[in-house]
């Protein structure tokens, strides 16, 4: 059966949906959805095609929006998406992840929630905030946010989350107990001799290699890392990259050795693509070497960044790669990054990009 790619875009002012036609050569954009709320993450359950959008509105608080008809109609709920009375209220939903029959939501201030009824009601996965390190978690520039949720494909009890800037945590018992998994990742903002703490690193994004659940990649505020043991140990793979700073890390849909990054010019120089020249960087060997992919991307006067959830790949062959900028441009490649075109521009600042494959 013919399939088409749907690109789901979360922005500072609503969600947008693009549908690819004619072999990803022609695209139609719809939106803004979700009443133009800030939408941090739009995802789809690949099994059902249901779309979920997480965000938070200054007036009306956090919610997860849901559409079962590719965005034609939406509902929203935050029932149960709350901490106990007296705690700092939840401001916003930052990350969503379908995992089997469950749907997870990461929120600000950092915590994890789970829905077993397709986002209608939520329960706090309290074990994470009960971790003894919790009182020492510090917010990063974007707040104290739980922004990455990675589920083990074969074991629903296992889950990794990433919190800025508390680091990576893992559970093997469905969220009851958690352990930090940050060994080998650096925190340049601590004194000499203290730069490799048990937790407190500013992880920016976390990704799992396809078919290799123990192979994790992370882009950190301070470096780029790979783990081959489920995050127990990390090693730097930043040699060959133009900087150690960036936000997203996107894996290839089938090849565990292929990874895409968008290094930026550092955390104090504007957080732009380096030299005003845009590039997506790709490794084909698990981070041993890197190639800049520039064809079709602006090579002068480009002053944008790409935020942590704003890059994704589609599952077709060759894989499509999609990159959304802080200036509201959506770039796409349908040849694994070799060349790029503009799918949309003049959107609000893009906060997230994900893909879904549906019947054409």
């Amino acid at each position: 059966m013919a399939k088409k790619v749907v690109v789901l875009v979360g922005t500072k002012k609503g969600a947008f949906i693009l549908e690819g036609r004619a072999g990803r050569r022609s695209w139609a954009l719809r939106g803004p959805f979700c009443e133009a709320w800030p939408i941090n993450h739009v995802v789809a359950d690949p099994a059902s095609g249901t779309i979920y959008a997480g965000g938070g509105n200054e007036w009306f608080g956090p919610a997860v929006w849901k559409s079962t008809d590719l965005g034609a109609t939406w509902t929203h709920s935050s029932e149960g998406l709350a901490y106990r009375a007296g705690e700092d209220p939840i401001k916003s939903v930052w990350s969503l992840a379908p995992a089997g029959r469950s749907l997870y939501a990461g929120v600000e201030p950092a915590g994890l929630f789970r829905s077993e009824d397709g986002g209608r009601t939520w329960r706090h996965v309290a074990g994470l905030r009960n971790h003894p390190s919790r009182p020492k978690w510090q917010p990063g520039g974007g707040g104290l946010i739980l922004h990455s949720i990675v589920a083990h494909p074969g074991d629903q009890r296992r889950l990794w989350v990433a919190i800025s800037s508390a680091g990576v945590f893992h559970t093997a018992d469905g969220g009851k107990t958690w352990e930090p998994r940050n060994r080998g990742t650096r925190n340049d903002y601590l004194p000499e001799g203290e730069k490799y703490p048990e937790f407190g690193q500013c992880v920016h994004s976390l990704a799992m290699a396809p078919g290799m659940p123990d192979r994790l990649y992370q882009q950190n505020h301070c470096g780029m890392y790979r783990s081959d043991d489920g995050g127990r140990n990390w090693r730097s793979i930043e040699a060959g990259l133009p900087s150690t700073f960036g936000f997203p890390a996107t894996v290839h849909p089938r090849d565990p050795e292929t990874l895409y990054l968008v290094p930026l010019n550092g955390d104090t120089a504007g957080r732009f693509v380096p030299g005003g020249k845009a590039a997506v960087w790709r490794t084909r060997d698990g981070g041993e070497s890197w190639t800049a992919l520039r064809k079709g991307l602006p090579q002068r006067n480009a002053f944008f960044g790409v935020l942590r959830q704003a890059m994704a790949a589609d599952p077709l062959a060759p894989a499509g790669v999609y990159v959304g900028t802080s200036t509201g441009t959506l770039f796409a490649s349908r040849d694994e990054g070799e060349s790029w075109t503009v799918l949309a521009q003049h959107l609000p600042a893009i906060l997230s990009v994900e893909t879904l494959l549906v019947a054409a």
Partner: protein, 122 residues
């Protein structure tokens, strides 16, 4: 909010809702009359009519959300504010939204500037 049997029936009051809230709840209306002895009971009644509306109006402290205002007549009210018969209860969005960092210059939480503008930097 269990009613004390000895207490008289709650007064009828008139409630006005902000348009962006009504947009979120199909079938809801900008202006309605209901029975409530306090602002908290107004919220209860709205939740009963349109499930989920409480979460949009109140946070888990619990309190009216920080960027919403509730007026009884011309006075700002809280959840505990009592309502006389015929009270006009107006729920309004505050002048904020758009860019939250600009909406509240200088506001600080936990010793750090409030910054909800994005993931790192936008």
């Amino acid at each position: 909010m269990a009613d004390d049997e000895s207490r008289p029936a709650p007064p009828r009051v008139v409630v006005t809702l902000p348009a962006p809230l009504v947009n979120l709840f199909p079938g809801s209306v900008r202006r309605l009359e209901l029975a409530a002895a306090s602002v908290g009971e107004v919220i209860d009644a709205l939740e009963a009519r349109w499930p989920g509306m409480r979460d949009r109006l109140c946070d888990s402290r619990p309190a009216i959300r920080r960027h919403l205002n509730v007026f009884v007549g011309s006075e700002r009210a809280s959840l505990a504010t009592r309502l006389p018969p015929g009270a006009e209860v107006t729920i309004m969005t505050a002048i904020s939204g758009g860019s939250p960092a600009l909406a509240e210059p200088g506001r600080r939480r936990g010793g750090r500037p409030l910054d909800r503008t994005g993931k790192g930097v936008v």
